[in-house]
Symmetry: C3
Subunit: 504 residues, 3 copies
Amino acid sequence: MSSTAWRLDPDRGFDPEPSRRTLARDLYATVRNLPLLCPHSHVPPALLADPEACLGDPASLFVIPDHYVTRMLFSQGVSLEDLGIPARDGTPVERDHRRIWQRFAEHFYLFRGTPTGLWLADELVNLFGVSERLDGASAQRIYDHLEAQLARPEFRPRALLARFNIALLCTTDSATDSLEHHRQIHAAGLARVRPTFRPDALLALDAPDWPAQIARLSERSGIDVVDYGGFIRALEERRVAFRAMGALATDHGVLSPTTARLSDGEAERIFVRALRGAADARDAARFTAHMLMEFARMSCEDGLVMQLHAGSLRNHHERLYARFGPDVGADIPVATEWTRNLRPLLNACGADPRFRLILFTLDESAYGRELAPLAGHYPAVLLGPPWWFFDSVNGMRRYFAEVIETAGVYNTAGFNDDTRAFASIPARHDLWRRVSCDWLAGLVTQGLLAADEAVDLAYELAYGLAWRAYCRGSATSGLPLFHVKPAAKDQPRREDEHSASSTT
Amino acid sequence: MSSTAWRLDPDRGFDPEPSRRTLARDLYATVRNLPLLCPHSHVPPALLADPEACLGDPASLFVIPDHYVTRMLFSQGVSLEDLGIPARDGTPVERDHRRIWQRFAEHFYLFRGTPTGLWLADELVNLFGVSERLDGASAQRIYDHLEAQLARPEFRPRALLARFNIALLCTTDSATDSLEHHRQIHAAGLARVRPTFRPDALLALDAPDWPAQIARLSERSGIDVVDYGGFIRALEERRVAFRAMGALATDHGVLSPTTARLSDGEAERIFVRALRGAADARDAARFTAHMLMEFARMSCEDGLVMQLHAGSLRNHHERLYARFGPDVGADIPVATEWTRNLRPLLNACGADPRFRLILFTLDESAYGRELAPLAGHYPAVLLGPPWWFFDSVNGMRRYFAEVIETAGVYNTAGFNDDTRAFASIPARHDLWRRVSCDWLAGLVTQGLLAADEAVDLAYELAYGLAWRAYCRGSATSGLPLFHVKPAAKDQPRREDEHSASSTT
Amino acid sequence: MSSTAWRLDPDRGFDPEPSRRTLARDLYATVRNLPLLCPHSHVPPALLADPEACLGDPASLFVIPDHYVTRMLFSQGVSLEDLGIPARDGTPVERDHRRIWQRFAEHFYLFRGTPTGLWLADELVNLFGVSERLDGASAQRIYDHLEAQLARPEFRPRALLARFNIALLCTTDSATDSLEHHRQIHAAGLARVRPTFRPDALLALDAPDWPAQIARLSERSGIDVVDYGGFIRALEERRVAFRAMGALATDHGVLSPTTARLSDGEAERIFVRALRGAADARDAARFTAHMLMEFARMSCEDGLVMQLHAGSLRNHHERLYARFGPDVGADIPVATEWTRNLRPLLNACGADPRFRLILFTLDESAYGRELAPLAGHYPAVLLGPPWWFFDSVNGMRRYFAEVIETAGVYNTAGFNDDTRAFASIPARHDLWRRVSCDWLAGLVTQGLLAADEAVDLAYELAYGLAWRAYCRGSATSGLPLFHVKPAAKDQPRREDEHSASSTT
């Protein structure tokens, strides 16, 4: 069976015009080996809590949990059952992981021109040493190869954490999480792994499992949540616990970034209605808008950076949700209004020097119209990197083209990979570093930026901005984080392996 | 009188960077002569029904019926009366076609930088052999030349159908059309010409001519439409008739793609109200939303591909509409919501393997935000090519840049020309083929796609995607369609003139 | 103290691909020295009324009044107090202009990649002869240099008006302005400086200072405004006065471009309610929508070009507004609907040959969807250049890419600088000329435009379009304006210093 050699272009992501390409290469060389800051991810902390944890077999690593992959196959007629996605309604699903892998390999051509295709190619070739192109013919040979690699100790998550040169890895954790995994991780000396406080489930007043969430909050916080005041105190208590484990930030996922303060009386009435099981969708929406104001207030007080991800209509496909639950690739964005919606929150806290708010959108039309002007005015606001569907070559290019002229580089938050696929982290950062260096090279070759400024900005985009957005000045526990400063002018950039600074 | 030679750049549409241009040329060479699939057009079937039909004189071919042309002249102060657009209110209009042509020629510079300008140049130079640039000075000489060409038998529509290498041409036909023209066309052995079922006029419950439309529906279907049930049966009967004439698809033009199923009782009440002449705009909108659900159901059952064109506010200029009727270049797009609007329909049918829904937008901000994620999830959804104003070099480039990274190439429907200007068909397809090859060349030269993958995708974009979207698996009458398969790997691409396959 | 030499790339704004760059340079050479038409600006006429007026010191010229500059520093934690912005609530602010300049210089790196950075560099280097890069170390040396330059007679505003080769400079003036400055300017023979009629403050029925505005209108017009009829007559009287001073246009800034004619009775009732101090925000919005219709009617009658700037939510940051008032960089755009909103106005006047309406948007998603189709249909509509945040390299590129294919070049209004920073005028026009020539060079090198057409269009974009939009055919006082016609074909372009034509 013939096979096609798989080799990645060392200049991928760079414009072919020679003067620009040469400069992009030079800039990229200054940042490609900088440590990775991953201030927002969905990596399961369990992977790093257990020193013996493995990444699993090829199907359970690359296919089953990755909704970027499964939605594309689903869109072309492959059922989620055939991809082995666990069904919560008891429907039997494929259990043979080699057959799942085979189906994936036969459809791998669907990812041509997509970031998922680029990430997977980078992982398979550069991380796992695959040498022939993935398709139906090569599928089983490559499965064998990957299985052998994954069995080796250097592919254990903790080994990869070091090999990937990850200087910070923030997970995303329910506000009611025990943080037990993080305790184990820190006990192993991996202070660079941090939890992030995500209280979304506690705001879904009309969800069936909300009472259970409140019960868990009471249990974890030691505060019996029987009224609105207790709810606020319990949240504050949990934030203390997260900060003690080194948390740098909170994260909030909302359909709309509406913010509006309720009177205490009104908040109390809605909360009590919810405790009686009588809250409806409108109550939940108003309460969420109010709680965003409260979370901003808490961030002013405790220094946790506030991240806001808005605009995803979750679980659009109802039958799929009933069978497989959330996060199977059926979340579809909607148009999102920021200017009016954030006005109450920003008028309350947007100029508070203790506050930092990082915004993430799935509506690119808001980049230049609303988000860049907001970030270019309010001291607290930074604009997060292109998110989800837009974490892509063109997504990044549009982001640079539409955001920077108004917001400037320094009102952005650098990159984060936002991934649950641990092994894809280097590929994602690498693509960002390539595309950002190519963008800077474009500015220089068009006479719009000086060459030395481009070197500074390449460092900022790869490392400095994310460091300042999340790590500098945060009121955390003082757990040390490794930090790389920019090279002094007139000297080649050099990583100083011995410099380490605390985050406080 | 001096004249300027008119010569088109053989590399038009290609980036000037040499490595990219070379590759774009090579890719284009593999697809430029592939047969044309035209699965959505507005070509009048009368043109092909009569073997002696002619395209008319230069003004009636290039100016009077083309709202792309007339709107631009109107925007610069030329009246529609002076362009000879027939007035339905009896206003006298210009009847001297040489004077109309002269006005057009004097304003031809207005089309610089527009797709209409590119198409017209391609038609005039490459199809009609015009050799000097069109302006006021050359107008009458070129009129003479065109008149002579148009009188020749090789410029009759049927001759051009063969010369253009059109393998499929779908017209757009009222649901109440007699299909008599198509019968004549098929009798002449031109099975590649197909009708498309367009029932829009039957949903405009509040329009003055709706009763007449219903009367015609009753007559054509043989079912006396006196209630909602009869209406549905009559529509189903008409779909049977369209399929018997080889129809592959339906087409639906709506202001908003709202979908929502009414109860049978409610549908009946609205329909009866309309029969009494008492339906209002809200009734019409709710009924339309309901009928989209019904048409999706019918498509699941009979296999007709469902096309949905949304977002054009028709007849914005009321005085012009009163005098000249629709389609004079005064339709203006509006922002269009897809995620919430299509949810009911997609939850009902979006994963039905018998169903295919092709979406067309005039709101490009929805490409990456809503349409690509929907196409990248629901098996039934494909995204149609850039439509109307966006059938242009930059429109295509934005489409590729904003859609493909999320939806992938294979969830798109290839190209269609959507034209009523029969003679412009090759020019439009040629521009798409050029721009798509240039886009692929850009990916390859940036290291984001392998060269052999680009060859495959060039074929897909020029031919394969449209074939699969409309022809493969459609439950039609078995009328044979000519089909060109992609070249086998390791072999130069070659058209097999002898291979013909049915569509079933 | 080491310093970095500051030298601007002579090819800035041009694509690096050699064939395109060469052509861009050639095109730019044909337009770079054309006179500047500035038909929309916020330059204070006082600067030109007094022959001895100065531009001030470096801080009061470059920092304090420029909200593009101050918002960026504010976004990074510099207070407006520390930048010397005058506070209307009596808060003390920095009065040491050298310290303000120092703060600005230390933060100048924030403007990397922004149009403000490009304009400032051009001004400092090319206009003021600064030779080292601006940063904290060079700040005071550069202050000294600028101070010395600004003291020289050739840096007085009237001297710069000539040196900048400004052929038309329209200011923006309250409808109740005395026009005394303009009288002085014209008395000095500077007929190229013109007022623009801006009545916004008279439409804010619910604003605290509206009664004062009405009182001033009564005083200026000599008509006692005690009812709606008097209000209309007084506005018409003021337009006569503006036209007598050479006004070419009106300007209207609105949150939403809603247009809707009220009945006379309704207009009267709302107006009387406002005179009683009882109008609310809804009244103000409805009255504004009505008055836009009225202003369009007046423009049909008196020939003043109507400019409409929509979509800025002013004074988003309430605390800052309370302290510092408007125009401090806290205006944030919102999504803007044009198709439905302008329909009443365009149906009334959109095809009136006496009327011209120029539209400006902060919502780029409307460019291709709504604005280009409107401009490409209605004879009265032209699309203004990229506005405010989008007056930038990428903003212009998106404008060309999204507008021209539908609207054509000739339905656009050329460039205007919209600046209150008099010294930045040449830098802004120069950037537009560079980017437009580069865009045209791109079209030519891609075979989409002939080289001679590009020469014509370069002239149009730099000069001709703005001339025709504002100056040709306007029913003004006949004050002469200097005009440069395009070079005849086959001849090198040449400015005819002796040709001067009136605007009528």
